[in-house]
């Protein structure tokens, strides 16, 4: 093909595109004008930063379903301050750089009132500074200790899910007294895993135990057996937490490595979120323990609130989608989206939020929240919000694998999860 014959149509295509672009711009203009004139009836726009692709995709799918269900419930109850709520969803690709771009899009392009969503700690740490610069309230559902550690800013809050530091602190007494004192930790080699490494090792030492080996695994790793020979022979308990698309391989290869003579095993359910416990190769997990943020299997003493939450999101009593029993939810984390959206609603209502000019009033209103009762809005359990550190505290569950299901064996109290404040965000200016 000759080059001249190729270049001709591309010029006309380009000019055609230009014309189209001008047309589209002109068509869009009256829309903005209409919104500006009738601001009170305009919906409240919540930018939802979604892990639609990349290593966090299964979390993204369920965070999306949970958030849509929560918005539906809020709108059915009359919306916020008489205005409907609208989710504006953007894919962050589970990538910190893209995360910051998405936050910027929410603020400048989509004219969102607040940003909300994401789980993976490196995306939150990458996005939060941009949200602070843009003065956009950024509600994260991430578990990382980065909010309460003082690393971020006044615009970033975590009111719907507890952080790793409080979780592991509540787990350590159970591990030390029931499973053993010599622990080998296996964790992903990025911010979230480092929270586990730093705070669990400190917490287990406070219980008279010790971490005999720490094995850090890159989060994009796909093959794991080669790491396991580093597990010392004296290990009494394996403490594992893993993320990413290869979690099933990780847990399976751990079982294949030990064969019939495994030590005690305590894992964070993150290692098996969105994975069927009945997957072949996981039989060895029978009798092992998992931390759960919210019990995946409906328990005998299931609350009315949990029942309502499952129905609204479309999750059955085994934690799978009601439409597809193989589509397992990220049940231990996704309640955080539901609860965070309800906190945004509560904050906007108590501050009389009317538009972006009230963003700082919204943050002050959320900072003023303390007791959060167990309710339809907060189905995981009662919580206590610390306005100074922007972090919520709540119950933690330890479940034992019994006949292939997770049965809650211990519930940690809210007080078990407290630690001294490390920051006072309320002293920072807006």
């Amino acid at each position: 093909m000759s080059k001249t014959s190729e270049s001709k149509p591309s010029i006309s295509r380009r000019s055609a595109l230009k014309t189209l672009g001008v047309g589209a711009g002109a068509a869009a203009l009256p829309m903005w004008a209409r919104y500006a004139n009738a601001q009170t009836s305009e919906p409240i726009r919540i930018g939802f930063q979604k892990h639609a692709t990349g290593i966090g995709a299964s979390y993204g799918r369920w965070y999306d379903r949970t958030s849509q269900a929560a918005v539906k419930m809020i709108n059915a109850g009359g919306g916020i301050n008489g205005r409907n709520v609208e989710l504006v969803t953007e894919d962050d690709g589970t990538d910190p750089k893209r995360g910051a771009e998405v936050v910027e899009k929410f603020a400048t392009q989509h004219k969102c009132d607040v940003a909300f969503g994401t789980l993976f700690s490196h995306v939150v740490i990458g996005s939060a500074p941009r949200a602070g610069e843009l003065k956009l309230p950024y509600f994260v559902v991430s578990e990382g200790h980065h909010v309460a550690s003082g690393m971020l800013n006044r615009y970033t809050l975590q009111p719907g899910i507890t952080d790793v530091k409080s979780q592991v602190q509540a787990m350590a007494p159970f591990v030390a007294s029931n499973l053993g004192k010599k622990v080998t930790m296996i964790f992903p080699d990025f911010a979230f895993g480092h929270d586990h490494r730093d705070y669990f090792s400190a917490a287990i030492e406070a219980q008279g135990g010790e971490v005999v080996q720490m094995i850090a695994i890159p989060p994009a790793e796909t093959s794991f057996t080669k790491y396991f020979p580093k597990i010392p022979r004296e290990t009494e308990v394996i403490y594992h937490v893993m993320v990413g698309p290869a979690v099933l391989t990780f847990v399976k290869e751990l079982g294949e490595f030990f064969g019939p003579s495994r030590p005690e095993i305590f894992g964070f359910i993150d290692s098996l979120e969105a994975v069927d416990l009945a997957s072949p190769g996981l039989e060895y997990l029978e009798g092992t323990y998992f931390w759960e943020g919210n019990p995946r299997y409906a328990q005998p003493d299931q609350s009315e609130y949990d029942k309502n939450f499952r129905t609204a999101v479309g999750v059955d009593e085994n934690g799978a989608s009601v439409n597809d029993s193989k589509d397992i939810s990220t049940y231990a984390h996704m309640f955080g989206c539901w609860e965070t959206l309800n906190i945004i609603k509560a904050g906007m209502e108590s501050s009389g939020y009317a538009g972006p000019q009230d963003r700082s009033k919204l943050i002050e209103a959320v900072e003023a929240i303390t007791d959060i009762p167990h309710s339809n809005e907060h189905p995981q359990g009662a919580k206590l919000f610390n306005g100074k550190t922007h972090q919520v505290f709540g119950h933690q569950y330890i479940s034992k694998v019994t006949n292939g299901k997770l049965i809650v064996a211990h519930t940690a109290s809210i007080e078990d999860t407290f630690y001294p404040d490390e920051v006072d965000y309320t002293k920072q200016s807006f």
Partner: protein
């Protein structure tokens, strides 16, 4: 773990990686050797193999073994057919121009990856292995003045991993036989040596090229089918595999099948052993340095012939 059993475990893990790499890289090397096309989309054919394996096994009943055999047959065939189609519709029209085919295969990479994302989704999905018994391995040690057998903790392999190694060896032997003993192998070698003369002698070079591209992709897909019961099928799994295949092919010499296999063993085993004893990052650093050294001191690769 003691040094001896530790080394043995590392070697076994490395051998599984080497087997998969050898299959994949020999496909890449074959395509480059015969067609002089650097196929950047090769990793995606590997990914498609794994994805189609999941797809076939979830639609075929009759137990995991039967479903897996079906995947082993159909997934490489489907992927091979797709590759032939890509060759006829895209690469042929670019007249196999080296620069333009690189750009075209980059485009193919994104098309395949995004179509997989849009249809199959972003999840990692497992395939049940046809068999997966854990085989504990014994070790010998000197005790009480004689050799004694004992069973170290953790020293084991699964029967499926052994199967991957054996299957790769058989396929590679078959490939070697095809290239040296069969008529189609002769046509391929003739097209590789001098495509214009081959055409003058009545060899349908374009059809040979389409077939070679298909076989190359099918080899990658086969590697994908073999790995998917160990790992899961995921739309991004092609990236690392492509990088490792390029490392293997550059060290072994582009176009040299024997060199590719030796290099796959070298990279696979060193990755297994170095990452067990030191760190996985160090294993990757060493492999990359090795590539740089080979490119500087022996650009044709360890086993490559002279440049044509």
């Amino acid at each position: 773990m003691d040094f001896g059993p530790y080394l043995m475990l590392a070697t076994l893990e490395g051998a599984v990686l080497a087997a998969v790499l050898a299959l994949m890289a020999s496909g890449l090397s074959l395509v480059f050797g015969v067609m002089r096309v650097v196929n950047v989309a090769h990793g995606e054919f590997y990914m498609l193999g794994a994805v189609f394996a999941w797809w076939v096994t979830s639609f075929v009943g009759g137990g995991p073994a039967l479903a897996f055999v079906a995947a082993l047959i159909f997934a490489p065939l489907i992927v091979g057919a797709l590759a032939v189609l890509a060759d006829i519709t895209i690469l042929k029209r670019l007249e196999y121009d080296p620069e333009r085919t690189i750009v075209a295969t980059i485009g193919l990479l994104y098309i395949m990856q995004q179509v997989t994302l849009m249809t199959y989704g972003a999840d990692a999905r497992p395939v049940v292995p046809p068999f997966n018994a854990r085989l504990a391995l014994p070790w010998l040690e000197w005790a009480d003045g004689g050799l004694q057998v004992f069973w170290p903790w953790g020293l084991s392999i699964t029967s499926y991993k052994l199967f991957v190694i054996i299957a790769a060896v058989i396929v590679l032997l078959g490939l070697r036989l095809m290239m040296t003993r069969s008529r189609i192998g002769l046509l391929m070698r003739a097209s590789q040596l001098d495509s214009e003369t081959a055409q003058a002698f009545g060899i349908p070079v374009e059809r040979v090229y389409a077939l070679v591209f298909g076989i190359g992709a099918a080899l990658a897909a086969l590697a994908g089918v073999l790995i998917v019961p160990i790992q899961q099928a995921h739309y991004l799994m092609g990236g690392d595999a492509l990088l490792l295949s390029f490392i293997v092919v550059i060290i072994g010499g582009l176009g040299s099948l024997g060199g590719t296999i030796v290099a796959a063993l070298l990279i696979g085993l060193s990755d297994g052993i170095i990452s067990v004893f030191f760190s996985p990052t160090l294993a990757k650093i060493i492999a990359t340095i090795l590539v740089a050294l080979v490119l500087v001191f022996r650009p044709q690769g360890l086993f490559g012939g002279r440049a044509r």
